[in-house]
Structure formats: C-alpha cells, structure tokens
Chain length 737, copies 2
C-alpha cells in the first residue's frame, strides 16, 4: 500500500472505531436507568423477610419479656427499655434511642389501700372487697404487682346508696333516667365492665351526677361457656379484676400538657385544669366481690337484659341496701396522681433512596402486670420484626424508605408515650410519615385474623395475607387469607372482614390527630359466636406467659402469622417504589359511610324536610372522590417508574391523601380528634365512628332542647364533611390545573 | 494474507472496535447527569425576565385598569376578571380560571344614604356630613362610585354626646379611662384615622362601651407638608374620606363560613354568629366635615399630643356639644350586609421538573373606586409579570416549578378572595406551596423600596435587588440595592431595612394560617421623615391613574423596579434547583425576637422572680435552631445536585421550614392565626408582632386582675414558643436520627 492508501485505510479504521465508540456511548447513555426499580428484587426479599420470622423466636421473646411486671414509670420498665435498645442495636438497626417524657401517671397509695365496703347504720364496714388478686402459681415471689385499681381515679371516700347502671352506656343512663325514673345524682353507681371503654362509663356516671362508680367484671362478659377459670382454662377467676385508666382524654396525651410534648421545660397545667381526669372515685372489682354488693341492693328489679350471670336477685337501686337495713356502700380511694418519667424506645433503619419517608411500626411495652397478652404478645412480635429486618440488613438489604420501630411507654395510662412522641415530632411526621402500623396485643382469641385499618390499606392487607400460611391445624397449604376469608367474610363483598379503626391503642395520635395511614392486625376470637368482652383475663394478673403458651397459641404459629402480616405491611410500605396504597378502596368506603350516615338522618324525615337538611353535597363529594381516585390509579398505570421525581410526586399524593382528611379545627369539643372521616365514638372510645361530626350532631337529636339549632349543626357538619371529601379528591387530581 | 492471518486481523479489529465501543459505552454511562442543573441557564434567563418588564407596559396596564370603579361584587369587577383571564391566556399561561365564592359583602343602601348629623335639643339636624366626595376632574360621568362608608358597619341611628378618642388605640382608651376619667359607655366616639387598622379602633370603641364610632381623616395624618391637595398635589382634599372595612376577622375570611370556603353548598352561620362584624354603627368622614363635629364638643381639653391639625379648639367630651347648647350627634347608618358572588382569577404555568411545587404571586383586583394606587399599581405590575413570563415561555422556557398567578377579589372586604381560596386549597397548598409573594399596591411613596418578608427570604431579596437598577433620577448605574441601602439602612447591620410581615393584605392566610414563606415589596415614602399615615388619598375617590402618572411615578420606573423585584423573587423561587431560602437568616431573626420579648418581660423583674418566669427554654431553642440552620447550610454546600431525589429532599426541608412554625391550635382566641413566630398585632392588624402569644400574655400585665394566672399564661406561652422553635430546628436536622 502507498502512503496515501495507508492514510485512507487509517482514516477508514478511525471512522469505524469512532462510529462504534459513538454507538457505544449512545447506548450507554440511554441504557442507564435513572433510578433502580426494585419491585422484582423486593418481591423475593419480602419472601425472605416473611420466612425469617419464626414462632420459636416469638415464644422466646414472649417468655423473656413476661417474667416481671413492667408498669409504666417503674424501674423494671426502664430496665426493659434498656434491654430492648441493646437488643435492637444487636439485631442491626442503625440507631436506637430512649426518648423520655415526664407525664402524669397514677398509682395506688402503697400504705393506704383502695377498697369498697358495705357499711351498716353504725358506720361499721361489714364487708370489704379484696385488696389484691390471688397471684397465679409460679409468680408468688414476684414483687411490685400493682393491685387492681382505676388509674387517675379521684381520691375520696363517698358513702351512699348504690345504683346499678348495667354497662354504664349512654343508652343505659337514658333508660334509667327516662324510662325507669331513677336518678343517680349523689349516688354511687355500679356498672359492669364490657361493651364500651371504661372511661366512657365514668364520664356517663359523672354526667348523671353520681359521686362514685364501682366497676365489676360479670361472668356473662368475662367468662366463655365451657371454659375453666385460669389456670385450668382461660376464663377470668372470681378474684380477678380489670385494671385500667378511666380518663377521657379525647386524644390529648399527657393530661397536663395537651397538644405539646411533656418535656422538662414544658409548662404544666394545674391538676384542676388537667384534661380528662375523672372528678369522682372509681374502683374495679371482681365478680366474687361484686356478688356481695349487688345482692343487697334496694330499688326495683332490673330489666331482664340487664341481668348478668351472677345469679343474684339484685335490684337496681336506689333504695337502702337490704331494704330496711339501710346499709350503704363506701368507696375508699387513695390513688395518687404523679408526674413520672417514661421512656419510649425508638429504633431506626435509614432508607436507601428516600430516607425522609418514614414507615412506623409501634406498640407499647408497659403492662399492668406481666402483660402476657397485653402488650407483650405484640411486643414480642415487634421484636421478631426487628430481628428479621436486621437479618436482611446483614445480607446487604436496606429499605427504600426509613423504617422506624417504637416501643411505647405508658399506653395503659392514656396512650401517653405514643401521643407525646407524636406531639414532639408532629412537624416531621406530618411531612414525612407514610404509614403507621400498630403493634399492641397480637392475640386475643384463637379463631382467625382481625384487621382494623384505613381503607387505603385494604388491598395491601389482602395481598400480604395471601403470602402468609394459615397457622391453624388442618389448614396446611392454605393461606392466611383463605383461612381468614372462610372464617370471617365481609358482609359487603367476597373478601375477609376488615373493620374501621377505633381507638384505645397507640395509633390514635398518628391516625386521628396527624392523618397518617394506619392499621393494626391481631389474632382474634369468633366475633359472631363468642360474646364475652375482650378476652376474659384482660388487664388482670392472670395475663401470663403461660396463658398464651397453654391456651391461646401453643405452637406460636398464630403469633408468627401476625408477625408476618405486620412485618409484610411495613416491608411493602417501606420498599415498594410506588406506595401500595389504594385510593379506590377509600372511595368505596367513603361512599358506604355517606350512605350509612344518610340512613341515620333519614330516620327523621319530618325534621329533614322542616329544616331543609340535604346530604346531596356529601354524596356529590363522594362521587367526585371516586372519579378522582379512579383517574389517579389509571394515571398510575402509565407512570414512568424510571423517573425518580415522577414517582416521588405520585407517592406524595398517595402519602398525603390521609392527611387531607385532617381538619386543624378538630371535631366539636374534641380538638385533638381532627380526622373528619374517622374518630373514636363519643360514647365508646374503643369503637370507630365514620363521619363522626355528623354522627354526634344527630345523636339523640329527637330530644334536642332547640331543634332548629340541633339541625343547623347537622347541616354544618354535613357541609364540613362534604368539603373535606372534595378537598381530599383535589389532592388526587393532576397537580396542575 | 492467508485465511488464518485474515481471521487474526479481523479478530484484532473486532477487539479494537469492541474496546472502543465499551469505552464509549462507559463514558456515555457516566457522563450523563441524572438531572439537569440549570442554575447557569437560570441566571441568564433571570436577566432576560427582568429586562422584559418595562415601565411603558405597566403604565399601559395601569391606565387600562383604572378607568372604571371595580368594587368587589360589581359587574365591572367581574368584567375585569374576564378581561384579565383573556389577557393572561394570550400572554401564554397554560390555563387560567375564574374561581367564584359567595361571601358576605356590605354596601351602602342606595336610597337611604349614610351621614352624621348634629342635632339640636328639638331633634333638628342642624348640620349633616356630606354624602359623597367631590369627584375628580375627568371622572364626572362615571357611574357606580360608592360613597365613603365603613363596610360591615351595623345599621342604626344612635344619638348621643361625642367623645374624642384620639386614634382609638388601646393606649388611647387606657388614657381616657384610667388617667382622664372619661367613660365612653353609651357615648358616640370620634377617632382620627391613622396609626392602626380601623377595625381595631372599632373593636376598642365597642370594648369601651361606645354605641357608635365616627372615623375622620385629620390633616396631621393625611397631608404631607408643603403638598397641595389633589389634583394639584397628592394630599387628601378636605372633602375626601377613607373607605374601608371595619371587621375584626382575625384571619377567618368570609364572616359566615370561618375555616371553610364559601361555596354554594357551604353552611353559613347566621349574621348573629358571624365572625368579626361590629355591633355598632361606624362611619368615615373627611376633615371638612370633621371640623364641625369637633369644634362644638364639650368636656375637658385634650392632651396636647392628641390635637390634630384641624386647628379647632375642640375638647374631648363627654359633655353636651357647645357646652350649654346640649346639641348631640346622630349617626344615620343604613349599610346592608349581603352574600355576594366574587371571583378570583387563577393562572397557571406548569412546572417542568416539579409541577407539584407551587410558587404563588397574588394580589387583589377589587378597588374601593378607581384603585389608582390600591390595588391597581400592584395589579398592573402582576400583569407585567405574567406578560414577561409568557414571553419567556414563547421562547421555550418553562420554570422548574409551577407558577401560580392570582388576581384576588374582595380584599377590601377582609381579604376574602385570597382567604377563601386558601381555605379551599389548604391541603394542596400545605403540601406543595413553596412561597407566596404578595402584590398589593406597588407604590405608596416616592423615596425607596420597602420589603416585608419572612426571614428566610432576606437573602434572596437582597440578591434580586442587586440585579435591578435604581429607578431614581441621578442614580444611573446604581443598583436598586445600593439606592435602597443608602436611603434606608437597617439599624442592626449594614444592609437595607426589611420589616416583619403584619397583615392587611392577601398574604395573611398563606403566611399566618398556612405557614407558607411569604413576602411583599413596594415603593414607599421616607419612613423617618414623612409622618403622615399610609399615603394621603388612601381609599378615597382621588386614587386615580393621574395621581400615579403626575406625582408618584411619572416615568413609571419605580413601578418597573417593583415589578422586577417581585418578578425576580418568583422566578428564582420557581426556577432555582435548590430553593433560595436562608435558614440562618431565620435563626438570626428568632434570636433577635427572643431578646426583644425577653426585654419586654424584664420590665417586671419582681413578678419574674415571684412567679419563676424564665426565658431559658426559649433562648436555648433559638440556639438549637441556629446550630441546626448552620449545619443544614453546610450540608447543602456538599449536596450532590445531580441527585434528583437528594435535591428534592433538601428542598422539602427548606419548603416545610415555615410550615413548622404553624400550630394547629392557633393563638389564644385567634384560631386562624396559627404562626407562633409572627401574627398581626392584637392592637393593630397592620403591624406584625413577633412571638405574639408571649407578647399578648405580657400586654398590660401590670393591671391583671389575677397576677398568678396572668404570669402562668406567660409561662405557658414561653413554653409553646420554645417547643415550636425546637420543633422547627428538628426539621432542619438530617432526616434520620
């Protein structure tokens, strides 16, 4: 080749090389995804995560955490907090901290015990209720078992005739006052536990003018048929009694620092100005003691359906005890309120891609005594969730979003630890919290799964339960979803029953005050056939490790299943590129709730016409929301998941949907209940009410003193609900008009 | 070459080509930025944007928009809304919509005019105030000029002695009641305009028990020295009077729908339950009329510094007019409240990268009459801002974030249009709004720039004013910053003076209720030497195009400068990859405010000791915030701006900082004022107060009935302030513990 040819040849080669370089460059440029879509990766990791959680470990955690009482504010409960911090760090969390608050707690006076007496005309105490529960075998040497008491009871020694008020519900007092003509003013009332939160019973008693209230456990409500009392079965023994706080906080947290965290520098109101403290003495007793009080009552016979299972021919008072004997009842209550330091344990796994998005798993650690069920069956499950997450991290996994694990303190004293932390971190949580999964007691029965959650979590709950095996014997190869579906089908569609969230556990501040999508899951009884309240030994000394190990879950596979459901929820929420929240489910629920509340109002067709009450705006809003939700999910199907900002934007819309239902003005008279769609019932904190503002405005409206004013308030509440639903729909629409 | 050699040769070539392909691929892979950092692009585009805004255009817009009155609720103001919508669409916005609300407005009765009389003992009206202002030349044929009135005045014809209450400030009534021993109960009071918002004067009069209040413009407050009355100068003529609403809404918006947008379906309270309506008649008069009322008053002589410039030897009553003549004053007020449809115009430019982040420029369109200054000097500037943005869009530009332009209605009736829209969109704004820039009157004087803004905007304001030329003659080559700095240096540092935001314009709901970083800018008088209130013709018929064109800004270069400042702010906020907000400036301001409020409390050293009042927690919080802010900006310096999610995360922290100061519980008695750092003064809506909760708790505390309770409230407010500042600091820390 000549030199010219050589040059041409090299030029050709250079051109070819350059061309290939360019092709390579271009392919390289465009082949690179701007973000990693680890949906596939997540799926197999979810499997690993679920399988990592094992019954044996949960059993071990439960055993370890139930040896001693862990009353809020006690040294034992601080020790347990330290232990949990240390173990969570060992499991591999990025950081774990103890977060203290100084809140108002309430303890019996150690030298001056609480009890109830029957006193004769001479003032002699002729019968006294027991000062403690008989301690179960194996725990005889345990110190610091707090006797049954009603936390935050007022002090006092009121003495008077006794009036039986059935469950102490609003409708029970209505019946007494309106139908039976019995006035409770100045009397001591006695109510059986069950049906509603005990704080509501106390509030109702105060409203009725009572000067004291005795709470007792009736076998009709605390014994299952054909079951022996503990330790031979899981029924409540006659000497057992239910501890519990009797506050009416309505979400305020620490009674002395409503709205603000109870830090050292925080201003504290006086006890007189405290939120939710009962003004009258309250005390709980078991049924062996209750018999004595009840069988000597005066007054007329109770309605048939007010008779419990005590088989005593008690009356409903007032009227002196034993008729002409003129005996009375005296309460002797010396319980003290005191500001006490509590400790939350907060653990963190930093999110890999979006550290500023938080998925929270929280449950309480404090127990009335051993807490075998409440809360340790839940806390043991949290411990296993944390251990499993740590295990995956050691294999190199890190969730897309941040995981926060919380062991709350002082739940039993009014959800204090969780509420103070929510108050402390309200700004950050409002901006960053994706979801809150609650982890209180993981088991309360032996039948099937129970889930209460926000509607947007329905679909994820179903998905996760399809990935978990049924823990029931004889259901090998069946999924938890199938087992659950078979046992508790929804009345509305062919899917397992999921309920609204009420309150009575630590999700309250997160869901009802801050508007963070929330849910809870546990194993439960057959709600259709098992009519006893809660589980029989609830809040008694008989909540031991053994009651779980012998009766509720001998294989610990039920707790394992619950661990996998809760764990699967937080895993998916933290790791899915697009948040697994379903707005169309929310739309369906809103439509259903609108119908329900309309039906309630429609019981007053005359007044509806007279005062021009219309639900059109609410139905129209529900329709707007439905269309917006459907359109949103259609757009989501076309989302370019490789565009990190685009994914973030739809995730923000999903995350903030629940927030959109929050009204900073709160519900009437309940400033910390700010969710317009859901609130704890005003008549039973445990139950959830939908469209609570409208519901409360309609309540007992037929007896309103000023009907015009009462129906105006109904109209105002319909307007607020309609606006809120419309406003939430707006958040789902395309982000620019 | 043999076939073997050929193969080797081809293998070699293939290897080389593959290698180059790979090199190309790898370079291509890594060379690609994951997001475009258009900081450089933005800078030159900002220059283009600023230069696009021109004096001549603003002059044209001002002329066009001031030909007719545009009272809220009138057909003319709807027509103007339609015109603005059409022109904004022409300018190139993506979409523009009219958003209606049905709010409570207030108009004089057309057939039964309002006036004040002097009546003799026989009940004869021996003097009546004028029913209208003399109409300025050129506007004689204009219909629908509303006469001077106090919007939302109660109806009524009270008749009694007159008491002069100076400016009607809290301290004026204190002086009357406590030092001068004059009781206003059951009297008609007369107050001069100025110093504070007129609604506060009316509230004070009601609290003092007055049954009516007359408001007048004194030349001491509404005439500048050496200036002629309009049309020969820019002073208020004697026949001119100041219109204005006399509400005390405290941020509620529409008085009938507090907290919720006034839509068709919205529940409306009765007028009796409406928020902020005065319960007594109110009426404004000019100084020609005022002379007659004042010169016949009875009672003692006023304090020297209460004497205005009317040069009448009036007294301060009560005491019958003319001493022994026993003449009285009668108010004749027939103004009607009525629910009326108003229209906001809302225009959108969709953000290119982050459409779900909103930068809002809003100002009102409604005017009492022609609105030459208020608001059209501002609205004309908005129009030019929109035109310039449209121009850039036609050249291919689109901001990183969404721009929202708003022409509010019914600002003059209590910030109604802007507040209803804020209520309507509260959820979306809370999640997505980056900043709100207000665009009311762009000029109120001829001296220099005036800026009120949140501390985090200080730095950006300084930066932008350095890019704008001084509009002043003889200052060619000087920047606006230099001109401003020279004329109005801060007392605290070597930089121009920037003030806190008060209220009295449409930013209120955005800043004080929702916690969106806000600011405003306008051209102003020399605040040190020009002691008249506002600008003399404020809210009179003499606010014409001509007053601007002849006196305030003949070259329209001052308005051009304001347009560039406002425009530069929204451009930078919408287009900078990292939000141009400065947390360290906020820290400095918080520290300063903490010192100021401490100094106020420290005037009571005895009580501070007695009631153990400490500001330590607040100082400590300010320090925490300062450290957090400094650390935040240090981390910002190391931010990988090519990581789209990382940038979004710090921007979220910056955006939500202002939100962190919002307390949903609001300030005591003012539920819609929710910003813990800033609120309109409780004694003057126009002024901003820092740490308003503490300030109000301390106010007049030396005269508190229950000192313990009063100081407890101070302590509670210090605690709330300290917590809020600490909570805000938390939002700036790294997002994971």
């Amino acid at each position: 080749m000549g030199s010219e040819e050589k040059i041409i040849s090299w030029v050709c080669r250079f051109t070819v090389i350059t061309a290939f370089f360019l092709i390579g460059f271009i392919i390289g440029w465009f082949a690179r995804p701007t973000t990693v879509n680890h949906e596939q990766a997540s799926k197999s990791l979810l499997r690993n995560f679920l399988d990592e959680m094992q019954a044996e470990n949960i059993k071990h955690h439960l055993r370890k955490f139930t040896k001693l009482p862990h009353l809020a504010g006690s040294q034992q409960n601080l020790d347990l907090a330290e232990q949990i911090r240390a173990e969570w760090m060992e499991f591999g969390l990025d950081s774990v901290e103890l977060v203290p608050y100084d809140v108002l707690l309430s303890y019996p006076n150690e030298t001056n015990p609480n009890y109830i007496s029957i006193v004769d005309q001479m003032g002699n105490e002729i019968f006294n209720t027991s000062l403690a529960e008989p301690v179960p075998e194996g725990y005889e040497d345990v110190a610091d078992i707090v006797p049954p008491y009603s936390a935050f009871s007022a002090k006092g020694q009121p003495e008077d005739e006794l009036v039986y008020v059935n469950y102490g519900r609003t409708e029970d007092f209505f019946k007494l006052e309106r139908e039976l003509g019995i006035n409770c003013t100045g009397k001591i009332v006695i109510a059986r536990y069950g049906k509603i939160f005990r704080g509501n019973k106390v509030k109702n008693a105060m409203l009725a003018g009572a000067k004291g209230i005795v709470l007792f456990s009736d076998p009709a409500d605390y014994c299952a048929d054909g079951v022996e009392p503990y330790p031979h079965g899981w029924n409540l023994p006659g000497g057992g009694a239910q501890r519990g706080n009797v506050l009416n906080l309505n979400g305020a947290g620490d009674p002395l620092t409503p709205g603000y965290p109870a830090k050292e520098y925080t201003y504290r109101s006086s006890l007189e100005d405290a939120v939710g403290l009962p003004k009258i003495p309250v005390h709980p007793i078991g049924y062996h003691d209750a018999v004595h009080l009840l069988q000597h009552m005066g007054g007329p016979l109770p309605p048939n359906n007010w008779k419990g299972a005590l088989n005593v021919s008690y009356r409903i008072g007032p009227g002196f005890m034993d008729g002409f004997n003129q005996n009375k009842v005296r309460m002797n209550i010396h319980t003290n309120n005191q500001v006490t330091r509590i400790y939350n344990v907060i653990g963190w796994i930093r999110g890999a891609a979006e550290p500023d998005r938080y998925v929270i798993l929280g449950g309480h650690r404090d127990a009335w005594v051993f807490g075998g069920i409440d809360p340790v069956s839940g806390a043991a499950v949290v411990h296993e969730n944390v251990r499993a997450a740590g295990k995956l991290m050691k294999k190199g996994w890190r969730p897309r979003r941040t995981l926060v694990f919380a062991s709350w303190d002082a739940e039993e004293f009014g959800l204090l630890g969780s509420t103070e932390w929510a108050e402390d971190n309200a700004r950050v949580l409002q901006e960053r919290a994706v979801a809150y999964i609650n982890a209180d007691s993981a088991i309360e029965g032996m039948y099937t799964l129970r889930v209460d959650c926000t509607p947007s979590l329905h679909t994820l709950v179903y998905d996760i339960t399809k990935k978990v095996s049924s823990p029931e014997e004889g259901e090998e190869g069946m999924t938890l979803y199938q087992s659950w579906h078979k046992r508790d089908n929804s009345t509305e569609r062919d899917a397992p029953w999921i309920s609204k969230l009420g309150s009575g556990s630590d999700f309250e501040a997160y869901f009802i005050r801050l508007g963070i999508a929330s849910g809870r899951a546990r194993y439960t009884k057959n709600r259709k056939t098992e009519r006893y309240s809660s589980y029989p030994v609830y809040h008694s000394v008989y909540e031991t490790y053994e009651i779980v190990e012998r009766f509720y879950d001998p294989s610990f596979r039920r707790l394992e299943a619950v661990a996998r459901v809760r764990g699967g929820l937080i895993f998916s929420l933290a790791d899915s590129p697009v948040l697994p929240l379903d707005c169309v489910e929310y739309a369906m629920s809103l439509t259903k709730y609108a119908n329900t509340i309309y039906q309630l109002a429609a019981k007053h067709p005359g007044a509806m016409g007279q005062y021009s009450v219309s639900f059109d705006s609410l139905f129209s809003a529900a329709k707007n929301f439905t269309v917006a939700a459907q359109d949103f999910h259609q757009r989501l199907d076309q989302l370019d998941t490789s565009n990190a900002l685009a994914v973030r934007m739809v995730n923000d819309q999903l995350m903030y949907l629940e927030r959109a239902f929050i009204d900073p003005l709160g519900l009437p008279g309940r400033p910390f209940y700010r969710h317009i769609i859901f609130a704890p019932s005003s008549h039973n904190k445990y139950a959830g009410e939908s469209f609570p503002g409208i519901y409360d405005a309609l309540f007992d409206i037929e007896n309103a003193v000023d009907a015009q004013k009462a129906w105006d308030e109904v109209k105002r509440q319909i307007s607020i609900a309609a606006f809120t639903v419309n406003a939430a729909a707006e958040t789902l629409k395309p982000v620019v008009s």
